[in-house]
């Protein structure tokens, strides 16, 4: 069972220091991810999704206030690694990423092939150039890019091509886990669809584990096995994709689902009134309470995570003392 879980994150906190006070971008996030599965993390912009990625990959800006918690990768707490060990043993060999706006993630003055090959030379010292280039060409084919683009500079590629080149770069060292941060948000619909197909192909052929960060629940449904909903720096619900789309439990998740347009049904699209709370001094109780239609007295206290049937985990008072049992507060 243990070996089946590739990533186990417990109470991860990432707070930034700003002039106005600490920003609690990631506040006590806990989740598990099975090998070969895809976890989609959904939520509004500014809810801390990207910070979660940065926290897991330890890509931290200078203004760190708090960075605590445990991140077990294959059962080892990598938070205990120092920066140098983390860089050598985890980055790109175990975990790779495709960052947000990944068309800007290529160094403008280095040729594509050299950038893609870079992690190979770094993490497999002594690899011959030929061999490295062979591998680069392989992943280039996987993402569906013509090989003659290898020699070009990033500015000679279209946005979609650069995005795919970034994905190729993420795959080149065969990492076990790839984090995709809004991989398709800046692309047109056709390119998006194309990209999702590429990702699906990779998932099936290589069995790569993905974390997919997105604000687009539609995109998430394409790839995800598990869905996690983030709200104001916290993970308010996690469940398998199967049930999420039909049976989301958290009031926020339900609202989120109701706001997704669908072709077949003729439903009235909903929106959530109000703004998410500021991550500087967020409410001490449930962070969604102000916008929640089902709030009651209890909501002024911080809700615990409740596990419901189908391993559905919800952080909401509505489900406490219900069918599920209180897991932790």
């Amino acid at each position: 069972m243990k070996s089946d879980i590739i990533l186990d994150v417990r109470d991860l906190k990432l707070h930034f220091r700003t002039r106005k006070g600490p920003v609690q971008a990631v506040d006590g996030v806990t989740f598990q991810l099975k090998r070969g599965q895809t976890l989609a993390v959904v939520g509004e912009s500014g809810c801390g999704k990207t910070s979660l990625v940065k926290a897991i990959l330890r890509l931290l800006p200078r203004n760190i206030e708090t960075f605590t918690g445990e991140v077990f990768f294959n059962g080892v707490d990598v938070m205990k690694y120092n920066d140098e060990r983390f860089r050598k043993e985890i980055r790109w060999t175990k975990m790779a990423m495709v960052p947000q706006a990944s068309m800007n993630s290529l160094n403008p003055v280095i040729r594509i092939e050299d950038q893609i090959a870079e992690p190979l030379f770094l993490h497999e010292p002594g690899i011959s150039r030929e061999k490295a280039m062979q591998r680069v060409a392989e992943v280039f084919k996987v993402v569906g890019l013509p090989l003659d683009f290898l020699q070009r500079y990033p500015f000679e590629l279209s946005g979609g091509m650069r995005q795919r080149a970034t994905i190729a770069m993420a795959l080149v060292t065969n990492p076990e886990l790839v984090v995709l941060d809004e991989p398709s948000s800046a692309l047109d619909l056709l390119t998006q669809a194309n990209l999702m197909n590429v990702l699906k192909k990779i998932k099936h052929e290589y069995g790569t584990t993905f974390i997919l960060i997105t604000h687009d629940i539609g995109t998430a449904s394409e790839l995800a096995d598990e869905i996690a909903v983030m709200y104001a720096g916290e993970m308010v619900e996690q469940c398998s994709a199967e049930y999420f789309y039909t049976d989301a439990r958290h009031p926020y998740s339900r609202k989120l689902m109701a706001s997704v347009p669908t072709l077949r049904e003729d439903k009235e699209l909903q929106f959530i009134p109000g703004q998410p709370p500021s991550l500087i001094n967020p409410p001490t109780g449930c962070r969604f309470a102000d916008r929640c239609e089902q709030r009651f007295g209890k909501c002024s206290e911080h809700p615990p995570v409740t596990e419901l049937e189908h391993r559905q985990q919800v952080q909401c008072w509505l489900y406490v003392n219900g069918k599920g049992e209180v897991k932790h507060a």
């Binding site: 003055v109 870079e118 992690p119 070009r152």
Partner: protein, 377 residues
Amino acid sequence: MSKIETTADRAVPARRSASGTFARIARYTLVRGLTLVITVIIGVYLAILIANGGGYVDKIREGQIREQISLSIAGNEALRDMTMQERREYEQNLVAIELSRRGLDQPFMVRSFRYLWNGLTLDLGSAEYLLSDSGSRQVRNILGERLGPTLLLMATGQLLLFFTSVFFALFLSRRYGSVIDRIVVAMAPTSAAPAWFYGIFLILIFAGLLGWLPFGGMVDAPPPPSPWLRALSVIKHLVLPVGAIVVSSIFYTSYYWRTFFLIYSSEDYVDMAKAKGLPSGAIERRYVLRPTLPTIVTSFALTLIGLWTGAIVLETVFGWPGIGRLTQMAINLFDTPVIVGTVVIYAYLLALTVFLLDIVYAIVDPRVKLGGGERRS
């Protein structure tokens, strides 16, 4: 060879890349060079128009001719017998011949183009007062003699400034927020003063008060006989003026470039490089310094243009026997041909600086193609 190397679709891009960079830079260099030549021609023409605005230079020349001729007539024994009237006519005649010989009777447009050619080839005739060290009165010789020291001083100063600034800026960006970083940020406004201004203080401190270094000049008064000692003496004299160049700009350039580095290190591809597991040194070199270089080269170009402007006074303050010192002497003596000559030679030097930086720019930025005028925007 791997199988990919041998595939047909690889052959084309391979050739494209090997010679591609070189061809791109060569083509770019050629076009930029031609543009600059045209620019220099127009610039020199403008300078000549200014110098001759309202026929001012013409009048000086005509006056000189008249004076020479009347002197030679006065000194000519054979003409003693002529009447006043005859002598005046004879003089008038000679002046007219001389004027047309020098082309001064032609309309200004025609003359201006001849002046332009003369200006571009630095064929500006003889100086009115100044002599070259070898005793020549030719403006070209005078300027040629002074070019070497100017290039030595400015090139040393500029290169030193560039490299120290880059390394210092990188160092500061690494130590963002530290005491030394704050000091440099606070000191940046001091670069508002030109190099010669700092020169005065350096002279005051190191030559006047401490007496460690010479007040000015390029070599010791009787130049040491051995070439090694002479070189050493030149280096000793270089320290203060080069120091003035560096001190006058280093805080500004370091502050500015450090800010560039900080801005560029928040680019997505730097995060990506970090995620890839690159060591920090490699990130700094390949992902921060390398992509910032084009911006830095552009900003350095502007600093250099300012430095060239200040060079005249810098050389004057340090008594450095270069073009700048010559300009100052020509101003004091009102030596028109030499002054026009210095304007032309400074235009050449500026164009050359811009040209060299353009080439460097094309090398460091693969995005540069023809029509490079766009890039500074």
